[in-house]
């Protein structure tokens, strides 16, 4: 007898918690790994602005986030670190072109551990024999990896550097390896380098063919469309822009 | 083939304290004997097994000495404690301790090979074949211990022990695992073997018949102490 009433109690509790989350206007935001710190702050500020609202954040490489959405993850807002990923999402009918916009820009930098004695001053220095490991995110699924590959190919250094590349799953992992000194150099965004400025040194800003523009969009068919739109609009407001600027993101 | 043995001289004086949880067992056993057939008789828990194991080197007493045939096996004062490998005695366990993964032939020949490899199953060593024949084990030579009866296993254990030509034969309740009829038969057989081989024997038992028939010099052990000793011509000799 006890067991069935316990089961009933648990069942009701579970249903109740599920119901409350649906009712409270929760917004699920999948954002590129480089937006981790900025979006955490922005979400807090958003929840303070609109009491009762809830933002659930999900950070990973843009390519990974895309796959999750493709496979049906209940995401309401998607912010990626490059146009290519968002284009792919649009092509698969996951976002509406009208709902898509660029909201920040970033730059690609080459960083080294703060105690590095190798004297790396340029991209070409990466081909030097003393440089044995360079962290580059996996181009197949990570935008920063694609930007790096593009830049190195343009400088005719891709083949030489790729032989020493340590592939990472996202930009934060690259940052971590440089900070730990496990690699001699790495490619990250200026905003990531700023977070660990005591552990990494920026060697140079890598020139790119086209600027790094981050698009954001609401997902088609999301269950919280209104809430999602409100969050995206919020990111345009002064307080949100201030937060983004604080972390080094520039206007698009 | 008889084993040419000098009469056994056993000079034993050992002390030990065993603790198990809150229980404590003190033993002090002394014995000097030139008998070829010593029986240590007493109830369960008297310390018989520990005494026999001490002679074999499977148990180290806290203090005392053990000398066998003039050779010091253990002397706590002099810091001597020969490992079992060097004592050259044979020990027969109550449940025979035959190696279950080896055939009868391999079991018997086990002690003859000193390296890291067991005797091969097909290998026939002269000494091994001799003892297999002596104990009528030839037909069973290729079988495994779990395929044998109790009496057969005992014979294999005995053959294994004797192949090494030990200075003394130590038997731990050798007939406890057998039924009464078999016991009578095996007692007689053992008595005859012992006489024929002239190998000194120390036997521990809680069965008075064992002591009566196989013990020329009987030690009564109780609560870790020798109660009394008796020397008499072992009945087995008269029956012969």
């Amino acid at each position: 007898m006890r067991l069935t009433s316990l089961a009933r109690l648990l069942g009701t509790a579970l249903l109740a918690s599920a119901a409350t989350s649906a009712l409270a206007g929760e917004v699920v935001v999948s954002a590129a790994a480089s937006l981790t710190n900025a979006f955490k702050d922005a979400a807090q500020s958003y929840e303070a602005q609109y009491p009762g609202s809830k933002v659930s954040l999900n950070f990973a490489a843009s390519g990974v986030l895309l796959q999750q959405i493709v496979k049906g993850a209940p995401v309401d807002v998607f912010a990626s670190a490059d146009q290519e990923t968002m284009d792919a999402a649009q092509k698969q009918g996951l976002v509406l072109p009208a709902e898509r916009m660029d909201f920040v820009s970033n730059s690609l930098v080459l960083i080294v551990p703060h105690d590095s004695k190798l004297g790396i001053k340029s991209l070409t220095d990466l081909t030097h024999k003393d440089v044995t490991r360079v962290a580059i995110a996996n181009p197949a699924s990570v935008p920063v990896g694609r930007y790096s590959e593009g830049a190195l190919k343009k400088a005719n250094l891709w083949d030489a550097v790729q032989a020493k590349a340590i592939g990472t799953q996202n930009v934060r992992q690259s940052l971590d390896y440089v900070a730990r000194g496990e690699v001699d150099a790495g490619f990250v965004y200026a905003t990531d380098a700023a977070i660990m400025k005591d552990k990494v040194n920026v060697v140079l800003e890598v020139p790119l063919a086209s600027p790094v523009l981050y698009p954001i969009a609401t997902i088609k068919g999301s269950s919280n469309a209104a809430e999602a739109k409100r969050f995206v609009s919020y990111l345009q407001t002064a307080p949100a822009q201030a937060i983004l600027a604080k972390y080094g993101f520039k206007k698009p | 083939m008889t084993l040419m043995m000098t009469p056994m001289q056993l000079d034993l004086d050992i002390r030990a304290t065993l603790r198990s949880g809150k229980r404590r067992f003190d033993m002090h056993v002394q014995c000097t004997s030139t008998s070829q057939r010593i029986a240590v008789y007493g109830p369960s828990g008297a310390g018989k097994s520990m005494t026999l194991k001490a002679i074999a080197g499977l148990f180290t007493p806290d203090a005392g000495h053990i000398r066998l045939n003039g050779r010091t096996l253990f002397d706590s004062a002099a810091g001597i404690n020969l490992p079992p490998q060097q004592r050259n005695v044979a020990y027969l366990f109550q449940d025979y301790a035959l190696f279950p993964h080896l055939t009868v032939r391999q079991n018997v020949g086990f002690g003859l090979r000193r390296g890291w490899f067991n005797p091969r199953a097909r290998e026939k060593l002269q000494k091994v074949e001799h003892w297999l024949a002596a104990f009528h084990l030839q037909e069973l030579a290729h079988q495994f211990p779990d395929e044998l009866s109790g009496g057969q296993r005992q014979r294999v254990a005995l053959a294994r022990a004797l192949v090494a030509e030990p200075n003394a034969l130590l038997l731990d309740e050798p007939f406890a695992a057998l039924d009464p009829a078999l016991r009578v038969k095996m007692r007689l057989e053992l008595s005859q073997w012992q006489q024929r081989l002239d190998v000194p024997m120390i036997l521990i038992t809680h069965d008075p018949e064992d002591a009566r028939i196989l013990g020329e010099h009987v030690l009564y052990l109780r609560d870790g102490q020798i109660d009394s000793m008796e020397e008499h011509k072992a009945l087995g000799e008269r029956i012969g």
């Binding site: 490991r133 592939g167 496990e182 | 086990f110 002690g111 390296g115």
Partner: protein
């Protein structure tokens, strides 16, 4: 499907090395803990079992800190041997060895404890040295239980992901094992590659597990 076969070959290589290491370590520690008594024995057993219950990423983190360029062991290895294990297949071997160790060690200990000590005593009295006793009596009677553990350790090493990713990274041909390759294929949306890799890994694991099942401990080998 080049990537699949490269990843498979690498996974098998890493798992084989890790299992070989664990065979030695597992038998050694299993025997030690089975046959000797010392204060703190069970505490040591618990510590040695820890990798089995810890999240692999946590283990990976500890290994990264320990073996990295700034880690105690990492610096020692670099100074004395000029080697760095991070981002190498040898590092992947270390990660897999640590993760799979309890799976080999615990069954080994149990197998040794199941061997009747009296048989070893009998061998001693017959004049056989301790080493010879181990190879002639103890090991032959314990090997089935040990082998079952070794096979489990092998599949665990084969499937290792979390610790490996942290310590060895994902370098195709060098450290991109099957599990890591699957992960990346899924991330990049390459479902066909992922499916192939998953099928291969599953097939290998099933085969190994079936073999392990046939060696259930307790059955003495009879020829």
């Amino acid at each position: 499907m080049d990537i699949a076969w490269t990843a498979l070959a690498l996974s098998l290589k890493v798992a084989a090395w890790a299992t070989a290491l664990n065979l030695l370590l597992g038998i050694g520690t299993g025997y030690l803990l089975a046959r000797t008594r010392f204060p703190g024995r069970e505490l040591l057993d618990a510590l040695l079992t820890l990798p089995m219950v810890m999240p692999p990423t946590v283990l990976g983190y500890y290994l990264l800190v320990l073996l990295g360029r700034r880690g105690t062991l990492g610096i020692w290895l670099q100074d004395n041997f000029g080697i760095n294990l991070i981002f190498t297949w040898q590092g992947a071997v270390i990660a897999s060895t640590v993760v799979a160790f309890p799976l080999v060690f615990k069954p080994a200990r149990a197998a040794f404890e199941a061997v009747d000590g009296q048989l070893e005593q009998a061998a001693r009295v017959l004049g056989i040295s301790e080493m010879a006793i181990f190879f002639r009596v103890t090991l032959p009677l314990a090997w089935r239980g040990i082998l079952a553990g070794v096979l489990l350790g092998f599949v665990r090493a084969l499937g290792e992901f979390g610790a490996t990713l942290m310590v060895a990274g994902s370098i195709p041909g060098k450290t991109q094992t099957l599990s890591v390759a699957v992960y990346e294929a899924v991330q990049a949306g390459q479902d066909d590659v992922a499916n192939t890799l998953v099928l291969i890994t599953s097939a290998v694991c099933i085969v190994v597990l079936l073999s392990a099942g046939r060696l259930a401990p307790g059955r003495i080998a009879h020829k």
